[in-house]
Amino acid sequence: SLSDRLDGVFRKLRGYGKLNEKNIQDAMRQVRLALLEADVHFRVVKDFVKRVQERALGAAITKSLTPGQEVVKVVYAELTDLMGSEHKGLRISSKPPTIVMLAGLQGSGKTTSAGKLAKLFSAQFPLLVACDVYRPAAVDQLKTLGKQLGIQVYDEGTEADPVDIATRAVEHAKAVGHRLVIIDTAGRLAIDEEMMAEVRRIKKRVMPHEILFVADAMSGQDAVNVAKRFNDDLEIDGVILTKMDGDARGGAALSIRAVTGKPIKYIGVGEKLDGLEAFHPTRLADRILG
């Protein structure tokens, strides 16, 4: 853990009295290593450690009997400053239906998260929309989830254009009285121009209240580039970080937040449809620092 690493740095200090800049440098190196090993992006780490260093030098660290703990406190404070301090949930519109669109890379957990959101907001009489016409049995997958939850799924098979499906789904939702529409889209590469153009078109036509970027907690360094591209193209409103029930440290969350400025709204904590939780920045801080 970071605490252990920092204890290692400062243990050598006993008997040397006051901290000097070299000690702080060593401590910062440990912070940097901890964050890189947790998959935080190289550049995000650089900026982050710079801020921690400034704060550490300014704080009571140099006079403290437990400088390691003081540094950890500073790192924590910086992490929570960066991640935001309170849970930001889905905003339900005063003019129903609230339209939510999920987007992200292949296999990140979008379809499952769509089901989880529908369950969480079942009081809104949600409509799930099957806009993935590419992946074999993606529509079946969403329909099965809908059946398990007793929630309606709008689909037009795999021959229609996802933009038209989304548009007609919203019309259907309004006609039937659904107060929440959750659009599941196909996984796509951020560098796939055609597929990115498709989600831009869905957004333009349907004008979602919330666009959520669904990201895998085990994502590596490239998460920052992917998130940036999805945010540039779609202006996402928030992030769902999935598979947090594993032991991935989740540093990608920091990178995604740093580059998009958008909040992590929920985390996926299991394969079952009740596996969605509100995001708490302090818990992520604990996890990233080990």
Binding site: L36, Q106, S108, A138, I191, M218, Q221, G246, A248
Partner: protein, 278 residues
């Protein structure tokens, strides 16, 4: 970055950044930078081109020993068990493998071992139909062990050349799910001598340092004989494979470069290293 630049601290920092942002990981990166920095300090590396040559050499040294190909047994069905975390690309990789073997005029049988996830059996059925190979399946929610048992029996009685068993995605830290995987391997072993002959661990190329934990824990549960690194058609570099090769020596056999049944390639260390350097 490569070219005729002077070899200074800035360049070394850039190289370090290149490796870390490629998901090579801190330990492995430092492990490679160390000998590099020593050579630079002794004036043995005259320009950036030479530096990159040296680095490539180090990386190829790590990877060449690990590159291996997927081979079928000369006699009897080869049982291939496909495992990995959720969403890594197992089912799609199975479709690609089935297609490849079919092109090689092998008799292929697929087994729908994921009885849990919504749409999993339908997904593999569609692929089986597209590739033109049979699929052994049972109702969703049935015991995966029962399907695997059925699949093994069918593979033997139909005398297929290769049988590929799909399994549900599972996070490596879920002890009960890893136990289930062990059970599936045991069932195969009881039906056919030495089965599963190949256990392919499918790793998502966009995964960061957790890939190492996946490689370790899956290998502890089942005898992983090869790694498939998927989604390398994206912008991730898959550098974790260097740590895995270096620390575990697991054979790296295949890469996934897209979502079609033809998007499968043998792992080529030279192409991989070149792509990493962009």
């Amino acid at each position: 970055v490569s070219g005729g630049r002077a070899v200074d601290e800035d360049l070394l920092d850039d190289v370090e950044e290149l490796l870390i942002t490629a998901d090579v990981g801190v330990q492995t990166t430092f492990g490679m930078m160390e000998p590099l920095r020593r050579k630079v300090a002794r004036g043995r590396i005259e320009n950036s081109q030479a530096l990159f040559q040296e680095l490539k050499g180090l990386m190829l040294g790590i990877l060449r020993g690990s590159a291996a190909s997927l081979k079928l047994r000369p006699q009897g069905p080869t049982f291939i068990l496909v495992v990995g975390v959720n969403g890594a690309g197992k089912t799609t990789t199975i479709a690609k493998l089935a297609h490849r073997f079919k092109e090689e005029e092998k008799k292929v049988l697929l087994v729908a071992g994921d009885t849990f996830r919504a749409g999993a059996i339908e997904q593999l059925q569609i692929w089986a139909d597209r590739v033109g190979v049979p699929l052994i399946r049972q109702a969703a929610g049935s015991d995966p062990g029962a399907v695997v048992f059925d699949g093994a029996k069918a593979a033997l009685s139909r005398r297929v050349d290769v049988v590929i068993v799909d399994t549900a995605g599972r996070l490596q830290t879920k002890v009960n799910l890893m136990e289930e995987l062990k059970k599936l391997a045991r069932i195969l072993g009881r039906q056919a001598e030495g089965a599963p002959h190949e256990v392919l661990l499918v790793l998502d190329g966009t995964t960061g340092q957790n890939a190492l934990s996946q490689a370790k824990l899956f290998s502890e549960a089942v005898p992983v004989t090869g790694i498939v690194l998927t989604k390398l058609d994206g912008s991730s570099k898959g550098g974790t494979i260097l740590s895995i090769a270096h620390q575990m020596g697991l054979p790296i056999k295949l890469i996934g470069i897209g979502e079609r049944m033809t998007d499968l390639r043998d792992f080529d260390p030279d192409l991989f290293v070149d792509a990493l350097f962009g």
